[in-house]
């Protein structure tokens, strides 16, 4: 199948496709950010997207979530085309993402940050809110309970009423993932979740990612810089450089691929 390594085994190949990107190309004016990018992800996979700075990794995420409209190519989520949809509709279909540079609602509380992501599922309208109907109280209680449960999983339960911007960096990263999960996704896009973390924190993060994948039955597509994370948890990896895919395969294959080494370390390193 296009956009996948060949050797992942029949068990994985038998699963349904969740995300199918074909021939994705995007130009910023005349600058080619992404060129002919194709990836097919099956349900329950944990796929990595790596590449040097400026390779176009985050642009791919922005294209999937409708921040930009691609110049060419197609993106399908569970068979439905995504191109041209506004971002919020794409998210409501079951795709969630985090941001490379943390984008929490910094002046709001930790709990509010998560509750906001529940808004499309709030299940009550303006009149319920204004007249404080029974449905409002009921739904509000359920939303708060669910959010608190999420915060507990991420070890943020005791900080729920703190201002999100005041959290330590590591907790802010986690809150981002918690908030993304509150949108109730089936596909989670993580944009450099380990940025700025030390090796020990990365180990914890890996454990957390594996855990949420099993608990929420997620498919995870992650962009990452840190080899420690990518090589350990991803089932297979796509490597980008200058907007193009230069390699794809299982972690150990990618690691020894000379083209990848060249992209990361420069031509000198190979000699």
């Amino acid at each position: 199948m296009k956009g996948r390594p060949e050797n992942l085994g029949p068990e994985v190949e038998a699963r349904p496709v969740i995300l199918e990107i074909e021939g994705l190309t995007h130009y910023f004016d005349s600058l080619r950010a992404v060129h002919d990018f194709s990836v097919t992800i099956k349900e329950g996979e944990l796929v990595g997207l790596i590449g040097p700075n400026g390779a176009g990794k985050t642009t791919v995420f922005n294209l999937i979530t409708g921040v930009y409209r691609p110049t060419a190519g197609s993106i399908r989520y569970e068979g439905a085309p995504l191109i041209g949809l506004p971002s919020h509709e794409i998210i409501q279909m079951g795709i969630a993402r985090t941001f490379q540079n943390i984008r929490l609602f910094a002046n709001l509380t930790v709990l509010d940050n998560v509750l906001i992501a529940y808004h499309p599922h709030s299940g009550y309208g303006l009149t319920d809110a204004i007249f404080r109907s029974r449905r409002f109280r009921e739904r509000e209680r359920v939303m708060i309970e669910q959010s608190q449960e999420l915060l507990e999983i991420f070890g943020l339960a005791d900080r729920q009423n703190d201002v999100a911007g005041g959290l330590p960096y590591g907790l802010q990263r986690r809150l981002e993932i918690a908030r993304a999960l509150a949108t109730q996704p089936r596909l989670l896009l993580l944009d450099e979740p380990a940025a700025g973390m030390n090796p020990q924190e990365i180990d914890q993060l890996m454990e957390l990612i594996r855990f949420i994948r099993d608990r929420f039955q997620l498919t995870i597509f992650l962009v990452e810089h840190r080899m420690r994370l990518v090589m350990n948890i991803c089932e297979w990896i796509t490597v980008m450089d200058f907007g193009e895919i230069i390699a794809r395969g299982k972690p150990e294959e990618v690691r020894s691929n000379p083209q990848v080494i060249e992209a990361y370390l420069g031509r000198q390193a190979i000699r």
């Binding site: 979530t65 998210i91 929490l104 609602f105 709001l108 709990l111 529940y118 608190q148 449960e149 999983i153």
Partner: protein, 422 residues
């Protein structure tokens, strides 16, 4: 019992009831003369306008200069309804009320239809909504008014005069507010899709358009009774303290309940980070339109209250310079603080129209426009977050849910998950 008294809702309602009774008693005893009564009414009206703007700018982050335009629409529309009514002409009442209802129904229909497509071009959406609104009011003028106008008039006039007056005044206030809401919705569709700066400029343009139209109501618009730039006289003076008080409380309660709901959180998220909100599945454009419409409805309601207190409307009241008053008030009180807006709104009118006008030497009024900017400048230098920052009294504060006690299911099943600490 103690728990009951500590309940903020009880405290607030008791406090509000006390204020109501005290002011009513002062009016009845003749201690509060009509001038100071007017100052209080005016303060309430300007505070309602400012609360609406705070919802739009302070809570939703959309810089708007259009608030006085909606204040003017509410004032003139409701004044026209009662003006004509007391002159035995129910047409304005019928057209505004039934036209609004029809327009709302048609607009709902249009939007339900448009929801079936995705990626609808904004001008298309605007045009269809605009046509729906125009059709609604056209039908009201052409068919509804001739059909039921006279019988409605007779039916209402059959009631005791005090009651029919209250009903008509209520409908006039609702009509003015609804009209302001409809206009703001139509303006909001194309304009709120723009970024915040463009939105500010477009709404400023809107205020100017409204002012120019009001200047020419008798020439280019078919409303000779509004008398254009000469000012509209002969509006019945129906605003009383209960009307002011209950409108004000309604505005405060609606705004509070709205802000303390999921929609309110979505409104705040747009202010915090619009892109992130959009990528959390929130339809930011419709949140912005919603906050804009609700804020404008508040302004329209305040306009009706003010018009029937002053009994005289003049386009300069809604001109360029005064239109900055609500902005100054919310910046002073604190963007994103209802408490701050309420305090500053009343204080502003109390000080400028009450104390300074009465007790300072003649000619001071001119100096006011030198003093405002200086005070504002000092405020920005010394306390940029405003008087109250984002402080709220307990009743208006967003409730912080208590932390959960028992360990969650997840923690019980996978104990190590809870232990992952940074």
């Amino acid at each position: 019992m103690r728990q009951f008294l500590r309940n903020t809702n009880v405290t607030f309602l008791a406090g509000a009831g006390l204020v109501f009774i005290i002011v009513q008693a002062l009016i009845n005893l003749g201690i509060l003369n009509p001038y100071w009564q007017g100052v209080i009414f005016w303060g309430a009206a300007i505070t309602m306008v400012s609360l609406g703007l705070n919802l739009i700018y302070g809570f939703n982050g959309q810089f708007s200069l259009g608030q006085y335009g909606f204040y003017a629409i509410g004032a003139y529309a409701s004044a026209d309804i009662t003006y004509r009514w007391v002159r035995n002409d129910p047409s304005a009442l019928v057209v505004v009320i039934f036209g609004s209802i029809l327009a709302l129904i048609f607009m709902l229909g249009v939007n339900a239809f448009l929801r079936r497509f995705y990626g609808v071009f904004t001008p298309t959406k605007f045009l269809l909504n605009f046509l729906a609104a125009v059709l609604g009011f056209f039908l009201a003028v052409r068919f509804v008014n001739p059909a039921i106008g006279q019988s409605l008039y007779q039916a209402l006039n059959g009631l005791p005069s005090g009651i029919s007056q209250q009903i008509v005044f209520f409908l006039a206030l609702v009509g003015g507010a609804t009209l302001a809401g409809i206009v703001s919705y139509l303006l909001g569709i194309p304009v709120l899709e723009l970024g915040s700066d463009y939105f500010g400029i477009a709404t400023l343009g809107f205020t100017i358009i409204v002012k120019v139209l009001l200047d020419n109501t008798d020439t280019i618009l078919p409303f000779p009774e509004m008398k254009g730039a000469r000012g509209m006289v002969g509006i019945p003076k129906w605003t009383t303290w209960p009307w002011v008080f209950f409108s004000f409380i309604a505005v405060v309660l609606v705004m509070r309940n709205l802000l303390h709901s999921s929609t309110g959180r979505a409104i705040l998220s747009v202010r915090e980070d619009e892109r992130a909100a959009e990528l959390m599945g929130i339809d930011t454009t419709s949140q912005k339109i919603m906050a804009f419409v609700v804020g404008s409805v508040f302004a329209g309601l305040a306009g009706g209250i003010r018009a029937h207190d002053l009994a005289f409307l003049h386009p300069t009241t809604f001109g360029f310079l005064p239109s900055f008053n609500p902005l100054i008030i919310i910046v002073f009180g604190g963007l994103g603080s209802m408490t701050g807006t309420i305090i500053t709104g009343f204080f502003w009118i109390f000080l400028l129209e009450g104390v300074l006008r009465l007790y300072l030497p003649e000619g001071f009024e001119t100096w006011r426009f030198v003093i405002y900017p200086i005070v504002l400048l000092l405020m920005m230098l010394l306390r940029p977050q405003g008087l109250m920052g984002r402080y709220e009294i307990a009743f208006l504060r967003r409730p912080l849910p208590p932390p959960k006690k028992e360990p969650s299911l997840a923690q019980k099943l996978i104990p190590e998950a809870g232990e992952v600490k940074a």
